[in-house]
Assembly symmetry: C2
């Protein structure tokens, strides 16, 4: 199976027949996994705050962040700890974040992966058997070590799932980065450029959760503008 990693959305080139997997481990795709794990019906990615506000339908929640902070008038921020069943079960959530939503929009459809649902996504990809490109959201247009880590975790997870890989250079480098730090993922996240920013903003507990490997079985599936748990994904 061919596997590629785009270090940022800018480096992603959509290709017919390929599956895209969006990774924004701090914190968008971790939040997506948390929301679906808590029984949310769907996450609707929006590029801007205005788009989220204007598109809101009755009963929908708004979530997102700007500069890591809750947006005024929004129900939820961008901390995976907020997406509790009591708040989100059965709900549709309109969501906008700095890097993650834009990364998602670079692909027409695909899966969303984080460290927390790494093995579940790897198993789903193994079952599909199609060439796959992992798209790292990155850090405001730049390379992000946090997403590189999760991309590497997914490559390693595919190998663990018994998939014979044809990795590109980026996949091999990301996997090597993950193998170096796999014993303490929360600390690795905390040392990353984006992680240090979050730690200084008081979000250390988020990094602990974002760094937990293979915690949940959800497989977030993005198509037609909405992310839902894939029928094959557990909760």
């Amino acid at each position: 199976m061919q596997i590629r990693v785009a270090a940022t959305p800018e480096l992603f080139r959509p290709r017919s027949g390929w599956i895209a997997v969006i990774i924004d481990v701090l914190r968008f795709t971790t939040c997506v996994a948390a929301a679906l794990q808590s029984g949310a019906d769907a996450i609707l990615p929006c590029a801007t705050v205005e788009e989220a506000l204007n598109g809101r339908q009755p009963g929908e929640l708004l979530s997102g962040e700007r500069q890591s902070r809750l947006i005024p008038g929004f129900d939820l921020g961008n901390s995976p700890h907020e997406f509790l069943p009591a708040k989100v079960a059965g709900r549709r959530i309109r969501c906008t974040t700095t890097n993650g939503t834009l990364a998602l929009r670079a692909a027409d459809s695909g899966l969303c992966a984080a460290l927390v649902n790494r093995a579940a996504v790897a198993r789903r990809l193994a079952g599909m058997g199609a060439p796959t490109c992992l798209v790292c959201a990155g850090n405001q247009g730049a390379f992000g070590g946090d997403d590189w880590l999760a991309a590497g975790a997914l490559v390693a997870g595919l190998r663990q799932a018994g998939v014979e890989l044809e990795p590109d250079d980026a996949s091999r480098a990301a996997e090597s980065w993950f193998l170096e730090y796999q014993m303490d993922l929360p600390s690795a996240l905390a040392r990353s450029d984006h992680g240090r920013h979050l730690v200084s903003g008081g979000f250390l507990a988020d990094l602990e959760l974002c760094g937990r490997l293979d915690l949940w079985e959800v497989v977030p599936d993005y198509r037609d503008g909405a992310i839902r748990n894939h029928p094959g994904g557990g909760v």
Copy 2:
């Protein structure tokens, strides 16, 4: 000293006061080092074959490649073995390559680094003490493990030169990649996406030379459209 790595020219954001270091280890910046080591007066990067042909002045040589091959009518290809003193000493060389020239054009001025002149460039950067961005040429717009390796080598070389670094995520990841493969750099190059292409094209001997660390003392300095050996660089 702040140090950043742009995995491709697309991810490079020029910043006032920062030094850019262009890396295209397979094979443009290795050829630049070879040419200056052999006493060439200057390398003049050209974006296209036409620009090289049309701009040629009496006495100038033309060098470059398309799809790794010599361009018809050119004097030299893109193999560092070709840039011998008998051919290039005292000459100006108009040069066009697929990735390297375009990477160079992304910066107004800067240094050119490869594995062969890694320590010399690191010492020059240490002496300058300015924040530095290493710009990897990459592989036709994609991440290239060969340039990532050389960028990591330069980060490690700066540390060896006693520089206290403030690395970004990309610098840390590239350095980690280099430290993993430093014991056999030619093999690491041969396993890279671009390296495998060159091996299959019969250029294995080039990889042996491109993978030799700290072989030469030249410090290629790019400004006003020409690359010359920096006055501080040895031969």
